[in-house]
């Protein structure tokens, strides 16, 4: 039914060939979108871009949460917890520093800091 378990608890059963194929399509399209969007990013902002994508790729957080949170042997939970802490670090520091850098880009005419 719809209630297919989502992430880790799932066995191989629901990740059949069809699911994998659709993931490949998703990967392909997301890569094209990524290439298209990133080529248009202003060169001025390449450093903030990298810290932003850094934070975005910390999406591994969702997998880490599941592994940490589910009822597994403690060692597995520990691996998950380390991964979760590392991902959380990237999310927090990535977004904060990106915003900090972007605040510094002053439009012409407003260059004086108040």
């Amino acid at each position: 039914m719809l209630f297919a378990p989502l992430l880790a608890s799932a066995g191989a059963a629901e990740a059949g060939p069809a699911a994998l194929a659709s993931l490949l399509f998703v990967f392909l399209l997301a890569t094209f979108i990524g290439l298209g969007v990133v080529t248009r990013v202003s060169r001025l902002l390449h450093t903030p871009l990298m810290s932003l994508t850094n934070a975005i790729s910390a999406i591994a957080v969702v997998a880490s949460i599941v592994i940490t949170g589910q009822d597994h042997p403690p060692l597995i939970n520990l691996l998950g917890a380390i991964a979760l802490a590392a991902s959380m670090t990237n999310i927090v520091s990535g977004f904060l520093i990106t915003d900090r850098m972007l605040k510094m880009f002053k439009r012409p005419g407003e260059e004086k800091r108040s």
């Binding site: 209630f3 297919a4 992430l7 880790a8 608890s9 191989a12 629901e14 990740a15 994998l20 998703v26 890569t31 979108i33 990524g34 990133v38 248009r40 202003s42 902002l45 390449h46 450093t47 903030p48 871009l49 990298m50 810290s51 994508t53 850094n54 934070a55 975005i56 790729s57 999406i59 591994a60 969702v62 997998a63 949460i65 592994i67 940490t68 949170g69 009822d71 597994h72 597995i76 691996l79 917890a81 380390i82 991964a83 802490a85 590392a86 991902s87 959380m88 670090t89 927090v92 520091s93 977004f95 520093i97 900090r100 850098m101 972007l102 510094m104 880009f105 002053k106 005419g109 004086k112």
Partner: protein, 466 residues
């Protein structure tokens, strides 16, 4: 119900991640991009917490707390240290991917039907990419931070590339064996981890400081790809999408960096660029002409257009605020001041822009190389602050030079060039710079911050006399 809560949260998060990058195309909307990213991440996390199997709330809270405690101070680093911070977060990203992969591998041993060939393949890819990104990025961060026991100059040894490729090949071979016999050959898994960790270190050892922008971008791409592989392992579209966005962003930045140095990926990774060149042929003793701050200030005052070429030396000397004061003094005199930004100036893509923006230079004065070069012939004075290889005219004509073919800022085409430099030592690429010996080039020796400060003092003092 839970299924749809999670799926819809992930769907909206995917859209917001794309918008987040889209809004980065203009400094005016860029902060909205951060907002979208934060919202997307929050949705993804909250959605995941709805997962029915979650019981260890304490562990989760503890790990999240630890992440916040490390992450917040990590966002306060000075902007000159942003390349290191970025490398460290690539390392964390790689570590997370590797650990999640390891956890899944050992969980799957209890449910052998999970080891379908494709998923095991994805798992191996995730683990190799994750762990090599981890150690590789830590090494890169160490080099950038100039940690004592990590050599700055490239380290080479015989058969280096053969060893590296061999190690990676061995890891991949073990991985493929694991795809066929995941249970019987499970002991190969730790071997793969160790090989990937070692490969990451060896990959970065032969890479010099000048190549760091490319390497950081490449590691960015690897971190994204490891998230994609994780998405395949877990059958999770959000991971695949976010990872693909990160991976393609890193790829584009690497390509831009490589083009800006006229080099290929293979050359960056295996070239050991940046060893000090042995002086070849009859090293003619050329002398550079020296100028005093007084003289340089007078020259600047007479100009109508000044182009400043900043380089990593400016960041090292923390001279940005002084540069800003110089900018103020010159614009006060109705002199047009522009900054010429080479794509690989600094230690990561866009590094100079961030440093100058921090010093309150308006961003319309930060001009890309291709746009400023046509103006060089009409420029009265070029002031080179701590840049070296990116203004070396040898790149245009000297076929024997290691940087031959690299696009440069045409500082030598301006009517006069002033170059601030600590000493006549070659730059990071280890190459002598012809610009310093040109007829119309005058050197200002000293620490960039002190020299620019002197120039400012001269201009401030001089303005009262006229």
């Amino acid at each position: 119900m839970t299924f749809w809560i999670i799926e819809i949260a992930y769907l909206v998060a995917s859209a917001l991640f794309v918008m987040s990058l889209y809004w980065m195309n203009d400094p005016k909307t860029a902060r909205r991009g951060v907002g979208a990213g934060v919202a997307a991440m929050a949705l993804a996390i909250v959605g995941t917490l709805f997962n029915p199997g979650i019981v260890n709330w304490g562990y989760i809270a503890g790990a999240v707390g630890a992440g916040v405690l490390i992450g917040v101070p990590l966002s306060w680093v000075p902007l000159t240290a942003v390349p290191q911070r970025t490398a460290v977060s690539h390392a964390f990203g790689g570590l997370a991917a590797g650990l999640v992969g390891a956890a899944k591998f050992y969980l799957w041993r209890g449910e052998p039907e999970s080891f379908t060939a494709f998923r095991t393949f994805a798992l191996v890819a995730e683990v190799i990419l994750g762990f090599l990104t981890f150690t590789g990025s830590l090494m890169a961060a160490g080099k950038l931070q100039e940690v004592k026991w990590i050599p700055q100059r490239p380290v080479t040894y015989p058969f280096q590339n053969a060893v590296n490729v061999g190690l990676l090949g061995l890891a991949v071979a073990c991985g493929l064996a694991l795809v066929y016999r995941p249970l019987e050959l499970a002991y190969l898994f730790p071997v793969i981890v160790v090989l990937a960790l070692t490969f990451g270190i060896l990959l970065i050892i032969p890479i010099g400081g000048a190549d760091m922008p490319t390497v950081i971008s490449l590691l960015n791409s690897y971190a994204g790809l490891s998230a994609v592989a994780m998405g395949f392992v877990l059958d999770n579209k959000l991971l695949v999408i976010a990872g693909a966005l990160d991976g393609s962003s890193g790829l584009i930045l690497s390509i831009i960096m490589c083009r800006a140095m006229n080099r290929s990926f293979t050359n960056v990774l295996f070239g050991a660029f940046g060893q000090v060149q042995a002086k070849t042929g009859a090293a003619e003793t050329r002398t550079a002409k020296k100028e005093t701050p007084e003289g340089a200030a007078q020259v600047l005052e007479m100009a109508s257009q000044v182009v400043i070429v900043p380089g990593y030396g400016m960041a090292v000397a923390q001279a940005q605020q002084r540069v800003r004061e110089l900018y103020d003094e010159l614009t006060k005199r109705k002199i047009e001041v522009k900054f010429a930004i080479h794509p690989v100036a600094g230690r990561m893509p866009g590094h100079m822009n961030v440093l100058l923006a921090e010093a309150d230079i308006p961003y319309d004065k930060l001009i890309e190389m291709d746009d400023i070069n046509p103006e060089m012939a009409q420029t009265d004075v070029v002031l080179v602050i701590g840049a070296n290889d990116v203004v070396n005219p040898a790149a245009r004509h000297d076929k024997t030079s290691p940087i031959f073919g690299m696009p440069i800022i045409d500082a030598d085409k301006a009517r006069m060039c002033l170059a601030i430099k600590r000493s006549m030592n070659p730059g990071f690429a280890g190459i002598e710079n012809e610009l310093y010996f040109a007829d119309h080039t005058y050197m200002l020796f000293g620490d960039a911050k002190a020299v620019v400060g002197d120039l400012v003092k001269q201009l401030q003092g001089g303005s009262g006399l006229h």
